[in-house]
Symmetry: C2
Subunit: 509 residues, 2 copies
């Protein structure tokens, strides 16, 4: 972990096409796009500080208010409001690391979060699942496991998430079965819900057993993360505060992402929505740093807008892109890693889902995001995890990963020798320069079909969404889970059995 933010600038590499394992770690070589001038950014910053000083944020947890009060904030047990002196707030969040390393249970599954590192995660949280065969339906444990298999299958996915809610599992034990599936089907760092202290403790314990380390060793590395949204505007509830406190104590990562939809839970203007996002994010991050100075945290930006005719959330809009650019500026202002999302509001894995997702991704990635959540599978404003959209997104993420590979510009790649080999009006197919390089010269698509119309028609005129389904079915059929010691598996099973016998977890904070 390092305080200093390094934009390490353009590095070079021999190959522009690095599939598979080389996507384990991605660095973004492009300087982030700024939406606002430095003065404008300062105005948003000051507005949020003034908001936290003059109005404050409502904190429903007495424990959290206690932490805030001891750190010097003004708290009211009457209104439950917490107000911050600006210097104290900034001093507190300065403890947060600008970057940290996350580790999955396989040795090669590590990556940096922060600086110009870029990490992709799957969709998190939808209640529904959909595929072309059976349409949209309530999420189940089996569909959750299928999505875990998909997440494990592609190296461009770095982090897993609760990709769909397994509604067929009883709530008190749901986290036990979910976390067991995570550690048996994947070997990547993962997400744990902040849905109560017992559930968090159970989930961390299962991860610890899978890692095969003691509690002390477990706490020395970041293996997982949670996301805490605010009850925007300007409120943190009991479970949220418990999540912040628990993850800070466990030294695991906490992403504070205000749910600021402009026009609904945030002002109808982008600068106003950003000021609110910033206030909520800083207040939550401050709590983590009060509980455990140096705890790994991430600045989350999720500002989008609603359809003002219906109130429906909209994603991948021009306003979303602007907010994503601006949120990156804010995160960098505080030297914090930045999280944003690949989102869309489409009801089907169609052209709209693709162009809205692309708008989101470009806004996120060129805005300098470090963690792209909801990277694969998100549909319908986050209400559905789509199997086909998952594959469409993997293709898009791989294209971005390939785009991030720097281009070497030297005598070889300037191809001076190649021009000696060809005649005007000829072609380069058979030149030595081409033959030496063609196999790894370009990105090879997963989903895109570049065959000509006649061939495509002969093969059944299969569109991208249908092809995505076929790719997913093949990947699921071929899936081999990553190795896990039988002894660890038994220990996990025994732990879960014990916890089930005890009735599972209480769902209170």
């Amino acid at each position: 972990m390092t305080r200093e933010r390094r934009r390490s600038g353009r590095t070079t590499s021999r190959s522009t096409h690095q599939p598979g394992k080389s996507w384990l770690r991605i660095k973004n070589p492009y300087p982030p796009i700024a939406q606002f001038s430095e003065d404008e950014l300062e105005a948003i910053h000051l507005t949020s500080l003034n908001l936290l000083r003059d109005k404050g944020i409502k904190v429903l947890s007495a424990e959290a208010r206690n932490y805030y009060r001891k750190a010097g904030a003004r708290t009211s047990e009457d209104t439950l409001m917490v107000q911050f002196d600006s210097d104290m707030l900034l001093e507190t969040i300065r403890h947060a690391p600008s970057a940290f390393t996350m580790h999955g249970r396989a040795p090669e599954r590590w990556f940096e979060v922060g600086d110009n590192n870029l990490v992709f995660a799957t969709v998190g949280g939808p209640p529904h699942y959909s595929d072309l065969e059976n349409g949209r339906r309530a999420g189940t444990h089996e569909t959750f496991c299928d999505l875990l298999r998909m997440a494990q299958n592609y190296d461009v996915i770095h982090l897993t998430t609760p990709m769909v809610e397994p509604q067929d599992l009883p709530i008190p034990v749901r986290h036990l079965h979910m976390t067991r599936s995570v550690v048996t089907l994947t070997d990547k760092p993962t997400f744990i819900y902040s849905r109560g202290r017992e559930a968090v403790a159970d989930s961390l314990e299962i991860l610890r057993i899978a890692q095969g380390v003691d509690q002390q060793a477990f706490a020395k590395r970041v293996h997982c993360y949670t996301v805490v949204n605010a009850n925007s505007p300007l409120q943190l509830d009991e479970l949220m505060c418990a999540g912040i406190i628990d993850f800070a104590k466990a030294q695991q990562a906490m992403i504070l992402t205000p749910f600021t939809l402009a026009g609904a839970m945030a002002p109808v203007t982008i600068p106003g929505a950003l000021a609110q996002q910033n206030a909520e994010a800083l207040a939550g991050i401050a709590l983590a740093q009060i509980v455990q100075p140096g705890a790994p945290v991430v600045y989350g930006g999720f500002t989008s807008n609603v359809d003002m005719k219906t109130g429906a959330p909209a994603f991948g809009t021009p306003e979303y892109v602007k907010a994503a650019f601006a949120s990156g500026q804010l995160a960098r202002r505080y030297q914090l890693p930045y999280r944003t999302s690949n989102v869309n509001a489409s009801n089907a894995p169609d052209a709209q889902s693709a162009y809205e997702s692309q708008m989101s991704c470009w806004g996120a990635i060129m805005g300098g995001c470090n963690i792209l959540l909801h990277g694969a599978g998100w549909l319908e404003g986050g209400l559905t995890a789509s199997l086909e959209k998952f594959v469409i997104d993997i293709e898009m993420l791989q294209m971005f990963a390939s785009l991030m590979q720097p281009v070497v510009c030297d005598q070889d790649t300037l191809a001076v020798s190649a021009f000696d080999e060809i005649d005007p009006g000829g072609h380069f197919f058979g030149t030595q320069h081409t033959l030496e390089r063609y196999e790894t010269a370009f990105y090879t698509p997963l989903l895109s079909d570049w065959s000509n119309f006649e061939t495509w028609t002969e093969r059944g005129s299969i569109d991208a969404t249908q092809r995505a389904n076929h790719i997913a079915r093949k990947a699921l059929g071929d899936f081999i889970p990553p190795p896990l010691d039988e002894a660890k598996r038994e220990e996990i099973d025994a732990f879960i059995e014990k916890r089930e016998r005890a009735g599972g977890a209480s769902l209170t904070a």
Copy 2:
């Protein structure tokens, strides 16, 4: 026209949502993304100059070789090669304006090309047309007219193109009927094919009559443009040279776009392909400036890659994006306006067509392009103009136009007053701050459906491509052509009748 390149920086405007007429002129407020360092850019530049000096470019037109020779280039009537002293070449292209204004026949249809201005054109050149009702088929005059109606209908389209080849019109008179349809169905600046000198002269004459000005006045403004590709690698044929010469003499715009697909007509490495693109572009632009110093020209970048397994062209790839960023750097190095494209290789207006187009558009627009050709309707690597893709693209272009609208950041938009109106955990729907702004706060989509799943299902689960078809049918049904004086119309008809009686145009250079 001005030599000095102005990146005028961030300007402000009250409204972030400016539909319709306000999209007549778009400025890109974001600094362009660079792919290469200044040293690397210089290496590409020098490689292309050395290529033109040591190897040269093959020029099949004796008239063009004559122009080049008189300007100081070395030419061979044996090999047909033209070689350039680098200083002479750079001195010659320095005559080209860094920006110019184009005018349609309606007074409000003008815009700047160059600086940070952004102009969108429709798809140009496909032999085929497709729609959901009848699938893919040979282009006809009627389908060409339908696409012209679509192009006229959306203000985000600035320039028209030969959107599909009307294969039912005899070749010698095809240009006459096409140009008549252009001036009767649209009032925007347009494209003229360089398919022979008589055809160019005929088309310019029809535009002149429609403008209602004499030849001298016509030549004082830029009303139209042509695109000259090279026969890459390193060759210009008779028709191309004639196009360059004719458009320079007529003081109309010429976009020189080498057809550099890496691995096929260009080296398999991106820097090599760019060096070749640059050599070909500079050679063609030099011819225009020799014929008529100061003639409006545009630096065209089209570098993409092929599928090295099949040789099929690929578009919207990571390599395409990198080349688009780099081509913008090259164009700016010579203070020339920059043209690139919205392209994809999909056979259907599906998710692939959308994400590949988005990749292209982001590469183009964030690379600092001034003219985005093939902006709406391109499918299948340019072999088909799709009615539904046209609508999908219009939505995407409108989203980009909206993204380009700057965000005002002041006390009003920072929403300080709005926070006084709400309680923590409440919402902003009914606040005064929202009520005063909600109608114009956000981009309103054309195609995207943000309704919830239940409503969307009740309405028939219509995906984006099907909705695009409905939108196009309604636009075509409602279409009203822009006004054109009856006298002008008669004069055009008489001219065409006369030219048809004469057998139309010869197709030679």
